[in-house]
């Protein structure tokens, strides 16, 4: 009975035959664009006491963007590739007055993460049983450029009165992600076929991904902690 249920489920999710009528060209690359709500771990440096990030920018996560290009070098039971990604996160708030209330000046925190990672996609279910769902995982190193701006939009200094150094730098760390992608070709096999014939895109997906980023120079106390956990959603294409 259980095996019958499995077979039925496979049939329900199976790609229509039309989707496979055209001969797919070989897949080499994958590109994705994703976005999610992100809150950097900066305040974790203070062990739950002070919350300078929250004081100025609030505790609500804000939209972060990532874009990734990966090259698949292995295809067998799933695919394995190496990818590079680049992101952007911007948060703006009001500088504080002496009494702790908000002033008219703005201050912002900008983060540009850059990652190099291994990507494994378990697309065996898709290629073998035509099930349009592909779980995947990523792991790699990430380097985060960041800077803080002051009221006039220029890079802030750490200590205004003493003219301290500029408030910008880089923090490196590691990142891993688990995700699930849904093959869009499933919904419109004919368009998918045209897309491949016309522009060489083999497959297109929407996906959801949970990312854990720990960026603190691998435990350096002097690092600005700019990692965090994020749910991201996006669109990807294989070509």
């Amino acid at each position: 009975m259980r095996s019958l249920t499995v077979v039925f489920a496979l049939m329900m999710f199976a790609l229509p035959a039309a989707a496979q009528e055209y001969e797919q060209s070989s897949i080499r690359w994958m590109w994705d664009l994703r976005a999610g709500m992100f809150l950097p771990d900066i305040d974790s440096e203070f062990g739950g006491g002070a919350k300078p990030y929250e004081d100025i920018f609030g505790s609500d996560p804000k939209l972060a963007w990532r874009m990734e290009l990966s090259r698949q070098f292995y295809r067998g039971i799933g695919s394995l590739g190496v990818g590079a990604d680049l992101g952007f996160f911007y948060r703006s708030g009001k500088a504080l007055l002496d009494d702790g209330t908000k002033s008219g000046d703005s201050t912002s925190f900008i983060l540009v993460p850059m990652g190099l990672k291994l990507v494994y996609r378990f697309d065996w279910l898709q290629t073998t049983y035509k099930i349009p769902l592909t779980p995947y995982g990523k792991a790699g190193l990430v380097y985060n450029l960041w800077w803080i701006t002051d009221g006039d939009g220029s890079v802030a200094t750490w200590d205004h009165d003493s003219g301290g150094g500029k408030a910008r730098g880089g923090t490196y760390g590691y990142e891993f992600a688990l995700g699930l992608s849904l093959l869009l070709d499933f919904f419109d096999p004919e368009s998918a076929g045209n897309l491949e014939r016309d522009v060489g895109i083999n497959n297109s997906y929407i996906f959801v991904e949970w990312t854990y980023n720990r960026s603190d120079n691998f435990g350096d106390d002097k690092a600005l902690r700019v990692g965090g956990k994020t749910w991201m959603f996006g669109l990807s294409v294989e070509f």
Binding site: P52, Y53, G104, L145, A156, G165, G169, D221
Partner: protein
């Protein structure tokens, strides 16, 4: 068929040039006579010559040359010593309209066009108010006529001329909040609803006088002081005083000497820096239209710059220890002289470059110029980010060169592994 022929003859007669008349062309428009250094105006410049300030100056000058602009008129045709007449107005070619309702600019003998073009003045006060020549606040157009026969109002040439002497409405909802050595000024962006607003100016005063950061260079709206060196107002009979003390008053006249900021019409806020904490300033906003008319002053708001704490300072105040010391390019780019990438480049300098003369020359050159470049990078986050990315291959290259033996060993191992995996070929 008979009527068709008659109609055709009539059409041909009306289209044919008169036996004694040719045609007039406008070769160009000039803000100043070319003999006085004037150059041909563009369409945008013509719009900026048909505003209230030039109208007031024309009205004031009256007997003199107008401060608006000139048509460069050319005539091509026969020269029979007859006169032509220049008029401005509306419907002046209609004999039912009294000529007194139009303004006469002058007349010329057609022979004066024989060897040259003629510059005909277009006084805005008569364009705005044909007949009387009194400036009014309105946006419309009138027509420039050349009559070959005044009695029958025979039009040899006519052209409509648009003008706008109506100042925009003053912005409302002005709020000013103190910042670090600055004021953050905002206003209701929807309060100026007329079309063609080009930008907003903010005006600042300190104790009634223009603030130290105020500069006329921030405003290019046209006032009568620019045009005819007089401070004239619509409906006023006496000349005003340029940049009077205490001139920042709600609904009052805007003086360029108080302008301290300029922003595009799409903005509704601006941060004015370069002020002094603890000093009270008065602030007002004006709107400027495409014709370079300026609105009256908005409400005037007093505010004082105050010390503020940005995120970097607040982070440090709470005991945060991340730093961002900078020196030279690599540390400027990567933010910390102890950054691993900076360490790699420093090791590369010591090990690979300082061991030979060309390398030492390069290092000396770098140390001469590096601080200047680092200063540029410090002032530009985007330059730093770009260089951070561009320098990655340099860092990786330096790291690989310094670990060269390791890479050789790895390559040797990979080659051996591949050979071991290669299937043996059976020999015949």
């Amino acid at each position: 068929m008979k009527y068709t022929h008659l109609l055709l003859i009539l059409i041909l007669m009306s289209a044919a040039p008169s036996a004694s008349w040719g045609g007039f062309n406008i070769n160009g428009r000039y803000g100043l006579l070319p003999s006085a250094g004037g150059t041909a105006l563009t369409a945008v410049q013509i719009a900026q010559h048909t505003n209230l300030a030039r109208c007031l100056c024309d009205e004031w000058s009256e007997a003199n040359d107008p401060y608006s602009y000139y048509f460069d008129v050319q005539y091509v045709g026969t020269f029979d010593s007859s006169d032509v007449f220049f008029y401005i107005g509306n419907d002046c070619s209609n004999t039912a309209v009294a000529l007194t309702e139009c303004s006469e600019i002058g007349s010329l003998n057609i022979n004066s066009f024989q060897d040259q073009t003629q510059y005909i003045p277009i006084p805005l006060n008569h364009l705005v108010d044909p007949g009387e020549g009194i400036c009014k606040a309105q946006a419309s157009s009138s027509t420039f006529y050349i009559f070959s026969d005044l009695e029958n109002r025979t039009v040899a040439f006519d052209e409509a001329v648009a003008y706008d002497t109506k100042a925009p409405a003053a912005p409302t909802g002005v709020t000013v909040v103190g910042g670090e050595d600055s004021l953050n000024v905002s206003w209701d962006g929807g309060s100026v609803t007329e079309d063609g607003i080009d930008y907003f100016n903010v005006l600042c005063s300190q104790a009634g006088a223009p603030a130290s950061i105020s500069s006329e260079a921030l405003a290019d709206w046209v006032d009568t002081e620019d045009v005819c060196d007089k401070v004239l107002s619509l409906g006023a009979t006496e000349e005003g005083v340029p940049c009077p003390a205490g001139a920042l008053a709600a609904g009052g006249r805007a003086y360029k000497c108080f302008v301290c900021a300029s922003v595009a019409s799409t903005a509704n806020s601006v941060r004015i820096g370069g002020l002094e904490n603890g000093v009270e300033y008065s602030v007002a906003v004006v709107a400027v239209d495409d014709y370079r008319n300026v609105s009256p002053l908005s409400e005037v708001v007093d505010a004082t710059p105050v010390p503020t704490t940005d995120f970097a300072e607040h982070y440090r105040d709470n005991g945060g220890v991340a730093n961002g010391d900078y020196c030279f390019i690599a540390t400027s780019v990567y933010g910390d002289r102890d950054h691993p990438f900076v360490r790699i480049l420093r090791s590369f300098r010591d090990v690979a470059l300082m061991s030979h003369a060309p390398g030492r020359r390069f290092v000396r050159w770098y140390y001469r110029n590096g601080p200047t470049w680092a200063g540029w990078i410090d002032d530009s986050p985007m330059a730093a980010v770009t260089l951070q990315i561009l320098m990655l291959p340099l860092v990786l290259g330096a790291a690989m060169l310094m670990t060269f033996p390791l890479w050789i060993m790895l390559a040797w191992w990979l080659v051996r592994r591949r050979r071991a995996q290669r299937p043996e070929v059976a020999h015949a």
